[in-house]
């Protein structure tokens, strides 16, 4: 490992960390604005730069974009109360156990195309912390550790509601991890690869997985082989998305913290920044989940219709540095779009009952995913 690789990876770690941690408050803001708009309200639209304090004529409110900052400051200033009846060590450990896996799993997501460095001749940098060959598996493995945070929080709080929330969430997460893993196998069969970087790259050549139209590439504009597989891929997409809702404890599957039954589930006893860590961990998991969906099904950083083929260097397949930065922007736009979709669903669908949730996972999705794998495998074996 030479100095350049070391430095570029360190910078990449910082960049990814910053991106995920900035997307968290942005999605909190979006959650509040979108939910308001759906319910014919306005939502937070005031907090901005208080320019009048410095003698200006008007405050600069910027549609309330600074609201998350105000929320954050408020959470910092709240009393950090640890009840007397809790198991102190695990009570403090639990919020970290929720936040850390969510941030870790962002490491394998390719945030942009491989970048030709502008000032270092012939050097290339991958816009991902770790471009490993088992991307989605690693994300699942690390995401499966999130459940410890929730279970431990529920248990260490030493009170009824959190405990029930913790039990619910662990049962739910273990069940839906299975659907999550099984549902994307057709996709992985199609790509024949587990490297998220290469998966995104392939989609930039042949068009997005769910939009397989590509101009300007070497192949045909529409590949009939992909069209044939499209129904299975669509089923895979639906199962994956719904399971992701359950896995990240988002409505309509937010039973672990269902307010009407459990006060607020596993984080009932938490306050101040410990609560904020749970809150942020949940949103970070949502951000990473959206990024994974975008990478697998919607081309990651790729432009639609194979438009990248026009800017690509035909000999090496690399992109100029400005194109890579643009790809990063494209990727983030798609991710934010998906986050808005998450929020939109939350304010549309009422919460499921717990038995409905379990039935959906084990009786419907599990079988459907298995059948889907079989179908995809047969189709690929015959026509592949």
């Amino acid at each position: 490992m030479d100095l350049f690789t070391f430095l570029s990876s360190s910078v990449m770690v910082l960049v990814v960390f910053t991106i995920v941690l900035t997307l968290v408050p942005i999605s909190v803001y979006l959650e509040r604005r979108v939910s308001a708009v759906i319910q014919d309200r306005l939502g937070p639209n005031r907090v901005g730069l208080p320019l009048t304090l410095f003698g200006a004529k008007k405050d600069f409110h910027l549609f309330g974009l600074f609201q998350p900052a105000a929320d954050g400051i408020k959470l910092f200033l709240k009393e950090d109360h640890t009840p007397a009846h809790v198991n102190k060590f695990y009570f403090i450990l639990a919020p970290a156990l929720v936040m850390v896996p969510a941030l870790l799993s962002a490491a394998v997501i390719p945030f942009g195309s491989t970048m030709d460095m502008p000032f270092f001749e012939g050097r290339q940098v991958q816009l991902a912390v770790a471009n490993v060959d088992i991307g989605p598996l690693l994300i699942f493995a690390i995401a499966s550790l999130t459940v410890y945070g929730i279970v431990i929080a529920g248990w260490a709080s030493n009170s009824r509601y959190p405990f029930l929330g913790g039990v619910r969430s662990s049962a739910q997460m273990i069940s839906y991890e299975i659907c999550l893993g099984l549902s994307i196998i057709p996709v992985l069969l199609y790509f024949g690869d587990l490297n998220l970087g290469r998966i995104a790259d392939q989609q930039s050549r042949d068009g997005w997985l769910l939009l397989p139209i590509a101009f300007g590439g070497d192949g045909p504009v529409v590949d009939w082989r992909t069209l044939l597989l499209l129904p299975t891929l669509l089923i895979a997409f639906i199962i994956f998305t719904v399971s992701l809702f359950a896995e990240t404890n988002r409505a309509p599957f937010d039973l672990p913290e269902c307010e009407t039954e459990l006060v607020s589930g596993y984080h009932t006893e938490y306050s101040s920044m410990k609560f904020a860590l749970f809150f942020m961990g949940e949103y970070a998991a949502m951000v990473v989940g959206s990024a994974l969906i975008v990478t697998l099904f919607f081309g990651g950083w790729a432009l639609p219709f194979g438009l990248d083929n026009l800017i690509r260097d035909p000999a090496t397949g690399a992109f100029p540095w400005w194109a890579s930065l643009m790809h990063m922007g494209v990727f983030l736009t798609k991710v934010i779009g998906f986050i808005v979709f998450f929020i939109w669903v939350r304010w549309t669908v009422p919460r499921f009952r717990y038995d409905q949730l379990m039935k959906l996972g084990w009786v419907v999705f599990f079988e459907l995913a298995l059948a889907n794998i079989l179908l995809a495998a047969i189709l690929i074996a015959i026509f592949g």
Partner: protein
Amino acid sequence: MAYIKIKRPRLGLFEKLYLPALIKGLRITLGHAISTLRGKKRETMQYPEEKWDDNMPEHYRGAPALVTDEQGRERCVACQLCEFICPPRAITILPEEIPTEDKWAKVEKRPRKFEIDMIRCIYCGLCEEVCPEQAIFLRKDYAITGLTREDMVHDKEKLYEIGGVRTGLVNKWNELK
């Protein structure tokens, strides 16, 4: 234990799929979002600029206050019924005798101190209902703020200031109120 068995509607295959209903729901929420974004619909009142004042309903119960009659006499006779009935015990009254040389000496009693702690008041209106002299009324003031707890205790002066003058035979059950 007796229980009622609810008949659930039998769903067809299409309805069981759930997805069509989901898409329908998403369309509805999207419609609301779009009409709000285009400014057609809006339930929010932008508070400091827009206020309740014009839309305040007739029966609104705001801050309780004392009133004087047309001769400038305070109506309250310090009977302390309101103090007694007030559920959160927000009212404190210190009565005193009206000296004989006073114009209204035959009323005999008046409050020396009359305080309503607005942190405690729950705007229930029981004081208004119980008062035999029709001296205390709930007004429409709702933005009652202060920087300290002491600020939030309305003394006699403040109460008369909010209440103002009530002329005629005020009957609290009719429109004159």
